[in-house]
């Protein structure tokens, strides 16, 4: 009996630490984008010919709506996981995944619009290259996020133990919300500099 309590206490402590690690990881990821932001500011300030010098494509507005919606769906998926409603959890996860993919496609579409305007990644005005860097690196994180969502989905399909499922969903939701907030930060930053 005493052993069992010890196991549970150990497990809870380890989970708390893992969740904390995730937060730390998010700080690290944010630092990467903070560095890019300051790089952008320093670069753009270096001459009047620098700067985004275009209006950001509307596709970014739609992708913003998609990712905000996906944050809502994953929140409810997490709530469903907590109450043990696996069917609801799975369907909401599917919604979230679909919205994630829509976001991905819309970002690519925005790139297409930019290149149609003659704003290429390979560009002597690197402020414009920065748009691709910001969105591209964010998309790389979105890919990681989609893998996380798939893992949550697999957990619900199997299904894994309730407490573990909730824990996995908790971490997954935090990461996905972070990606949402990160995009909003990037978008606002770019809007302010367009």
């Amino acid at each position: 009996m005493e052993n069992k309590e010890l196991v549970i206490a150990d497990l809870l402590r380890t989970r708390k630490a893992k969740k904390f690690s995730l937060w730390l990881g998010l700080i690290g990821m944010f630092m990467m984008f903070a560095a890019l932001s300051s790089g952008f500011i320093v670069y753009t300030a270096s001459g009047v010919d620098k700067g985004i010098k275009t209006i950001l494509p509307h596709a970014f507005i739609y992708s913003t709506v998609a990712i905000i919606l996906s944050s809502v769906t994953i929140h409810f998926a997490f709530q469903a996981a907590k109450t043990g409603n696996l069917v609801r959890q799975k369907s909401l996860l599917i919604f979230t995944l679909a919205l994630g993919l829509v976001f991905f496609v819309l970002q690519l579409k925005a790139w297409g619009i930019l290149t149609e305007r003659g704003i290429y990644f390979i560009n002597n005005n690197a402020s414009q290259s920065f748009i691709y860097i910001f969105t591209g690196l964010h998309l790389a994180h979105i890919i990681a996020g989609i893998i996380v969502l798939l893992r949550c989905y697999i957990g619900a399909v199997k299904p894994i133990a309730h407490d573990y499922n909730v824990f996995r969903m908790d971490l997954g939701a935090i990461f996905w919300h972070f990606l949402d907030l990160l995009w909003i930060y990037i978008y606002v930053f770019l809007l302010l500099n367009q």
């Binding site: 150990d10 904390f20 560095a35 320093v42 002597n124 860097i133 690196l137």
Partner: protein
């Protein structure tokens, strides 16, 4: 103390039973912090030897620039045709020496080893928060090492743009031979390395904040843990910035963007890149690069604090001041990077700001140096090899730190920038100090790692050869630097004003060779003692911290029974009234009534009343 080690069957400690380990899971893909620490250490030692041999090679070139050494051609082939090292290869040697020493030896080898070993041990945890991430951290590091060494086997040679990889040399693959494939491999290797450091760092912070045993509040943590904690924070905030810098560099190199490149003509060809700024890279690089030097030195400061206190048989002087100075260094480390860039045409006002922040770092650094000396003062010093290395560390930290005050001054730095004065400064304060901290740690915690003792006499030999060697190598460089001799130059005979320094170079090179040979004493001792060293007792240094309450034989989960609770800070050495000169952290105050003082109870009125009563009954008078 012995009450904490209940050697009953390790299978009875909760979640840590049922381990069927194979050779692969125990020695190769281990998730046990103790094994991962050893993996980091041994890989770090191999990288250190490799990087040291590189330095001996370029030292030979610097001492005898006009002499042929046919044996070099045997080993290096086309890079030393006719027995003389080629200029391109010379640049590769200094680049890879710097990269390996700074990142692979003094970051991963030092932090990786001791954070992994000591964090769970000293805070009282079964293992790291995420053993899997810990394992991944090591393997990313290992692959990074293999790729970096692998770059010696590509036709165009390893990277040669300096460890700081400034563009355009690093960004234009056609500029010099080392800018080609070698540079690409450098970037891949460093990306993996950063992944390793971030994984490791996140784990260290999380473990320290979440997995401490009962009673181990932050102010009872040994200074080692404080230093690993703050080092990991610095790493977490600064390494991702290097990722950003490297991502942009990779796009400039391989995709044709112009973040860092502008108006270049290379090999007669006009490059299409325009509008980029190499200074931007320097800003991003040094935002990591400067904190990196504290990532390197802070763990060394933590290890020496512990070793100096233990071997002086005295509490560390100014424990709180030591912690606050580490915190001060951590914060300041992020706002001084501009001092590496005084000569980039920086606005003098901005230069002034960076100068002030830089000079302020001298304050917490000096607090630490004085506290070390005050700890040693009138201590019952035991000159173990670890203690000698710890004192050596303090010596280098002081003598190298003083020249930091010179270099931190923008007006002086304009003269001294990129000269041997800088080389002397950072090799003493960061290189030698950190490596001495690391060696001090190896000698001190070897019994904990391998269950055996290292040979003391070989340790002394190793210390003196290394200590004197390091000063003989780096001290003369100050004078060369003041004379204006630039760093990274291939042959001193090419410039008349530098020729007078060739004789000094010969002294320096001989000193480097002797110090290098001194490391053989260490290698023999280190690897030999694994099998032939004297068996260690549980607490060979009579130390207070928790790791010495674990059994000598490593077990999964560290403690056989429950994890012991902590009752006091780790520096109760030579406490008046106690029969021994140390009191382990796990000993409750109720067992040490004869040595308790009232401030031990931190205002706990009930405990103070009990102590007062006991003192009265036993005619013990203690100042209140």
């Amino acid at each position: 103390m012995s009450s904490t080690v209940i050697s009953h069957d390790a299978a009875h400690h909760g979640s840590h039973d049922h381990h069927h380990e194979t050779f692969l899971t125990k020695y190769i893909f281990s998730q046990d912090h103790k094994m991962i620490a050893k993996q980091f250490l041994i890989t770090g030692i191999i990288m250190a030897v490799f990087a040291m041999l590189l330095s001996i090679l370029f030292r030979i070139q610097l001492a005898w620039p006009d002499k042929d050494f046919p044996i070099l051609e045997v080993f290096l082939g086309k890079w030393a045709e006719g027995g003389r090292i080629k200029p391109e290869f010379f640049l590769s040697l200094v680049t890879i020496h710097g990269t390996m020493m700074v990142f692979f030896v003094l970051t991963a080898g030092l932090s990786g080893t001791f954070s992994n070993l000591l964090i769970p041990y000293q805070i009282g945890a079964r293992d790291m928060a995420s053993p899997l991430m810990n394992m991944l951290s090591y393997w990313f590091f290992f692959v990074a090492c293999v790729i970096m060494i692998g770059s010696f086997f590509v036709e165009s040679g390893p990277a040669s743009a300096g460890w700081t990889i400034y563009p355009p040399l690093s960004a234009v693959p056609t500029s010099i031979s080392g800018s080609g494939m070698g540079m690409t491999l450098w970037l891949i290797s460093m990306t993996l390395f950063i992944a390793s450091q971030v994984l490791g760092g996140v784990n260290y912070i999380s473990t320290i904040l979440n997995m401490r045993t009962k009673g181990m509040d932050l102010w009872r943590m040994p200074l080692t843990i404080w230093s690993f904690f703050l080092t990991a924070i610095v790493g977490l905030l600064s390494f991702p910035v290097l990722v950003s810098a490297v991502v942009l560099l990779i796009f400039d190199r391989s995709f044709g963007t112009s973040f860092y490149l502008s108006d270049l003509v290379v090999q007669g060809q006009i490059l299409p890149n325009e509008g980029g700024s190499p200074i931007l890279f320097q800003h991003l690089f040094w935002f990591l690069g400067h904190p990196e030097v504290y990532i390197v030195v802070m763990p060394a400061l933590g290890l020496t604090s512990e070793v100096i206190s233990t071997n002086s048989r005295k509490p560390i002087f100014g424990y709180h001041a030591m912690v606050y100075s580490l915190v001060g260094i951590t914060v300041l480390s992020f706002i001084v990077w501009g001092h590496h860039m005084f000569v980039t045409g920086m606005n003098p006002f901005l230069g002034g700001v960076f100068m002030i922040t830089t000079l302020i770092i001298a304050v917490p650094s000096a607090v630490k140096a004085f506290n070390y000396i005050a700890t040693l003062w009138r201590g019952n010093i035991r000159f173990t090899p670890a203690m000698l290395f710890a004192i050596g560390m303090v010596s280098f930290f002081v003598s190298g730190g003083v020249t930091g005050i010179f270099l931190g001054n923008a007006a002086l730095d304009i003269n001294l920038h990129d000269t041997y004065f800088v080389v002397a400064h950072f090799h003493l304060v960061m290189g030698s100090a950190s490596i001495f901290g690391m060696l001090c740690g190896v000698y001190h915690w070897y019994p904990k790692m391998f269950g055996r003792m290292m040979n003391t006499k070989l340790g002394y030999l190793h210390f003196w050869l290394t200590f004197l060697g390091a000063y003989l190598v780096f001290f003369p460089m100050h004078f060369m630097g003041i004379d204006g001799v630039p760093r990274r130059y291939y042959a001193f005979t090419e410039f008349p004003f530098m020729e007078k320094w060739v004789s000094v170079n010969i002294l320096v090179t001989w000193a480097a060779i002797v110090a290098g040979l001194g490391q053989v004493a260490f290698l023999v001792n280190f690897f030999g003692s694994i099998w032939r060293g004297k068996k260690a007792t549980q607490n060979p240094w009579k130390s207070n911290t928790l790791e010495w309450t674990t059994p000598v034989e490593h077990i999964h989960g560290n403690w056989p029974g429950e994890i012991p609770a902590v009752h006091r800070w780790p520096y109760d050495y030579s406490k008046p009234g106690h029969d021994e000169d140390f009191i382990s952290q796990v000993v409750p105050y109720s067992q040490t009534m004869s040595s308790n003082s009232y401030h031990d109870f931190e205002g706990d009125e009930e405990a103070i009343a009990i102590q007062r009563e006991w003192n009265k009954e036993n005619n013990r008078s203690v100042e209140e």
